[in-house]
């Protein structure tokens, strides 16, 4: 749809209406004029016809009267009574002149012509003879009726003829008196009727031609003659040069017909209406002009406030809410509209502030959001760079925040965050919530000359403040946080960089015992490697990239000198990263929640291998390392049992090892779950025993069969007396608790000998064999089946 301005719309409407009205008026005037003209014409002509009829009748009566007076004249009667033709003729001339008759004749009662004359006496004798011959038919009637009034056409002239009986007092003779219908007569008729009059006499005999008596009909072209009922509007509208005519029959008998033609020149009629039409046209034209001017002015006036408000709306949409809206208009609607615009502007402004606040502030803690903090940080960095100074960004991570949520519920988790946020805010500076349990605190964001980068001491103080227990609804929640600092702009020259490095340093700090670190460049490399390892490991586990392997290290049963157990050790040789130490990726897998998948893989592969070994006739118990998370996994036991059933292997084909440090984290929970393992018939060992500060009370309660002495005590067993004492003590402890022992890290025959003497159950180490793949293990077992390990020492 085509878009027009309001201006144009109003303008067109007004002009259209005025034009329409004007046209209607014009057309009406024209039509009315036409009808009026036609009516007038009809009336004029009808009137003229009536008047003419009346005039002609009066004229006839006058003529008859004149003729009667003549025939009543005694002298005339006497003359006629003489029967002397000459006398009578002279009397005719004499009396005819009295009444201006054009024809005179006297007939005997039997119809014989007694005497005749005409106005010019002799010159028109032919006329009178013709007249007499034509009039003879009327003589009998005249005698009977006293007289006859008729018309005669003679020699291209039309006469009004009156025949009168001359009574003296009995009928004496018949007198004929004729009056010519002359143009002068017609002129008199025109003067009376105010309309052009013509008489047309047409003889009925074939030889007769019509005679026209008129004043100036010759001037009117016959082509332009219109009958009254033929008159159409355009004749008047276009001022046609035409005449309107109407005929009526004055006289008609067997001999002669006389038509009266009334003619009205249309121009005369039109002239009467021309002034009216001109006036109306001028008024119409003037009103259109006025309408154009008024519509132009008014539509502009009407549309101006709208245009102004449109500009205001555009400015508001551009975010300018402070403009003063002052639309000058006398229209109530526009005043209201501009008031509404003002309200809208204020409301939008307020709402935008709210939205901006919501966007800039974390709804839970009311700290800045990461996005909003980024802007501030960028400004601060720019500011600092200009002044050649710097500041520290401190990342704060609530350790084990997920556990808080898990243990206490989200309500408490949120309460912790709110409280910690409050504490951070109390430190001053800029504080923002980055995600979950991560915050950013910039102590000296508004850097000045005096301020110094934050020192370790104040960091420790702050950390202690943050780690105060959070009490919510009577529940006291212990909180641990990790802190990591990044220096701007030397380490991070943008907010993005700062956030990234904060993430890295916190990641690293979590691994540190003090959970507090300053960022160092190597962290980034380590971080990248960690990210890479996790990514690749996940891929290896899910896609089966065949770069994970399970190696086995034999455990020598010292007493029998036979290998009857192996420890399954995962090995990962990634194409890009090369050999990745298990210590590195297992820890990362635990943090990344991948450990259960790793364990799954290990269990499946171990059971598969155990089946192979069983088929090879090698009787071997495979020990699998479990993490703390594996122990609490409720599905693991079922899965293992299922796989063993499928492989048709007994429970003692597998055993499990749990590091002492995992057990001591939550010993009661560990004991509870380990009992399940024990019930299923699996042997359990405490790995790395001696490094985890186990409570002896718990040791007694652990449903384990074996203690695995950490290799740090065994490696230098042959040369270090302290290690030897420790091992001996552990052995004695094991004996007391009726536990088996395994010594790890046996690398020389002397150590093996010592262990044998101390009564250790199994020995494991490079002296016997390094961890090897399954085929090598089978071969190795076959090769060393009868080897006397102790005698070699």
């Amino acid at each position: 749809m085509k878009v027009h301005s309001l201006n144009q719309g109003i303008f067109r409407l007004v002009i259209g209406l005025v034009l329409l009205t004007s046209l209607s008026i014009l057309i009406n005037v024209w039509v009315a004029t036409y009808q009026q003209a036609q009516n007038k014409l009809s009336k004029d002509i009808e009137l003229a016809q009536n008047v003419l009829g009346e005039v002609l009748q009066t004229q006839e009566e006058l003529l008859i009267t004149s003729a009667s007076v003549l025939t009543e004249d005694f002298g005339f009667k006497q003359a006629v009574a003489t029967k002397d033709s000459a006398t009578i003729t002279s009397a005719l001339i004499n009396h005819g002149n009295r009444i201006s008759a054009d024809l005179m004749a006297i007939f005997s009662l039997s119809g014989n012509t007694i005497a005749s004359t005409s106005k010019n006496e002799l010159g028109e004798s032919g006329n009178i003879n013709q007249a007499i011959s034509l009039a003879e038919t009327y003589i009998a009637t005249s005698l009977e009726e006293g007289g006859v009034s008729t018309f005669l056409a003679i020699n291209n002239k039309v006469y009004k003829v009156i025949l009168l009986r001359i009574d003296a007092p009995s009928p004496l003779a018949i007198a004929l008196i004729g009056f010519e219908l002359t143009p002068t007569f017609v002129q008199r008729l025109e003067d009376t009727t105010q309309i052009q009059v013509s008489l047309e006499a047409t003889g009925k005999r074939s030889s007769d031609s019509s005679i026209i008596v008129n004043n100036d009909l010759v001037n009117i072209k016959k082509d332009n003659l219109l009958r009254v009922d033929e008159l159409a509007w355009h004749h008047i509208a276009l001022s046609t040069n035409a005449s309107v005519t109407q005929n009526f029959t004055l006289y008609n008998n067997d001999e002669l017909a006389i038509e009266v033609i009334l003619t009205q020149d249309l121009r005369k009629l039109i002239a009467e209406f021309a002034a009216l039409k001109f006036n109306i046209s001028v008024i119409v034209f003037a009103s259109v002009l006025i309408a154009i001017v008024v519509a132009g002015l008014y539509s502009r006036k009407l549309a101006r406030p709208i245009t102004e408000l449109a500009k205001v709306a555009q400015r508001i949409s551009a975010g300018d809410y402070l403009q003063e809206i002052d639309v000058k208009s006398k229209s109530k609607e526009f005043v209201h509209l501009s008031m509404a615009f003002n309200n809208m502007q204020q409301n939008i402004s307020e709402r935008e502030k709210q939205i901006t606040h919501q966007v800039q502030h974390d709804p839970l803690t009311q700290l800045y959001t990461r996005y909003h903090a980024s802007d501030k940080i960028n400004q601060a960095i720019e500011n600092a760079a200009e002044k050649g100074r710097g500041f520290h960004g401190v990342g704060i991570n609530v350790l084990g925040f997920r556990d808080i949520n898990d243990v206490f519920g989200y309500q408490y988790g949120d309460a912790c965050l709110v409280e910690i946020a409050r504490r951070i805010q109390q430190f001053g500076g800029l504080s923002a919530r980055l995600s979950g349990g991560e915050f950013l605190w910039i102590p000296n964001i508004n850097i000045d000359d005096e301020s110094q980068p934050i020192g370790d001491f104040s960091l420790i103080q702050n950390k202690a403040l943050l780690e105060q227990n959070v009490t919510h609804e009577g529940v006291s929640i212990p909180v641990k946080v990790a802190l990591g600092t990044v220096h701007c702009p030397s380490q991070a020259n943008s907010a993005e960089q700062l956030l990234k490095l904060t993430n890295i340093v916190l990641d690293e700090a979590k691994l540190q015992p003090l959970h507090m670190l300053h960022y160092q460049e190597e962290f980034e490399q380590k971080y990248i490697r960690r990210v890479l390892i996790i990514t690749k490991l996940r891929k290896a586990l899910t896609e089966g990239t065949n770069d994970l392997f399970l190696y086995y290290q034999p455990k020598l049963h010292i007493e029998s000198e036979q290998v009857n157990a192996v420890e399954a050790l995962i090995r990962w040789i990634e194409p890009d990263l090369g050999f990745v130490p298990p210590d590195e990726f297992i820890g990362l897998a635990e943090n990344a929640g991948l450990i259960s998948q790793v364990t799954d893989w290990v269990v499946k592969r171990a059971i598969n291998d155990a089946k192979v070994l069983a088929e090879q006739g090698v009787k071997m118990c495979i020990a699998i390392n479990l993490s703390a998370k594996d122990i609490v996994n409720p599905y693991l036991l079922d899965q293992v049992a299922q796989l063993l059933r499928e492989a048709k292997l007994p429970a003692n084909a597998l055993s499990f090892e749990i590091t002492e440090s995992d057990l001591v984290e939550d010993p009661e929970k560990a004991i509870e779950h380990l009992k399940n393992f024990k019930q299923q018939g699996y042997e359990l060992a405490i790995d790395d025993f001696g490094t985890g500060y186990s409570s002896l009370a718990y040791l007694k309660s652990f449903p384990v069969d074996t203690l695995k002495i950490d290799k740090s005590f065994v490696l230098a067993l042959a040369s270090n007396q302290d290690d030897r004492d420790i091992v001996e003590t552990i052995m004695q402890l094991a004996k007391k608790f009726k536990l088996h022992t395994v010594a790890e890290g046996v690398e020389d025959p002397e150590s093996l000998q010592i262990l044998a003497e101390l009564g250790c159950t199994w020995a494991q180490g490079f002296y016997m064999c390094r961890p090897i793949p399954l085929p090598d293990l089978i071969e190795w077992c076959k090769a060393n089946q009868h080897k006397k390990w102790l005698s070699l020492a």
Partner: protein, 230 residues
Amino acid sequence: MPKCVFNQLVCAFLLTMFSLPLLAASITVVDSDNKPVEGVVLGFSSATSIPAKASSDIAIMDQVASQFLPRILAVSKGQWVDFPNSDNIRHHVYSFSAAKPFEIKMFTGSEAEPIQFNKPGIVVLGCNIHDSMIGYIYVSDQETTKMSDSSGYIHLSASDLASAVYDKTNKNLVNASLWHPLLSSTNTKRIDVQVDTSLSEQIITLDMRQSQLEVQQKSNGFSSKFKKAN
């Protein structure tokens, strides 16, 4: 001829067959509307010569209230008629009739000399200054004349009939003529009739014209007195 008249004629014929001629005859003249016609002059030739009237036997055509009185006067050839003017205005009595054209100009009282009418015929009298004055003088020659009264009644006495000339074939019938000005437009027309003397009562119907005067009196306008030719 109306049916009743025919019947009466038949009756008259039958009476003639069986009775002797009557001593007197009565005739009633009516117009086509059965109205009695006054002033009808019945004339029939006398078998015997009628002696001329004595010069002293002057008929009177008086003028009373601008009318001729009597309107119709029957005189014998050679008889004198006096025109006394009883009105106190003058009259100009004239006639253009062939029987006796004359003119007595503007006279009052008995100024006018009597005029002798010595030619038989109808003389129509007029007054030049009073068009409504029309009078008629019936000049008879060797005729017995009788005029109908206001009831259209004409009485023929035995003496009248004694000199009458009877029809040769029917001795009861007398050949006569009737005249009245309105019998023709020229006022001169006479109608031949046969008077049946065997009938005591004879009715004769005349086809009368409207009198000129009546036409004038009836008409409202001048022009309408004419029949328009168209």
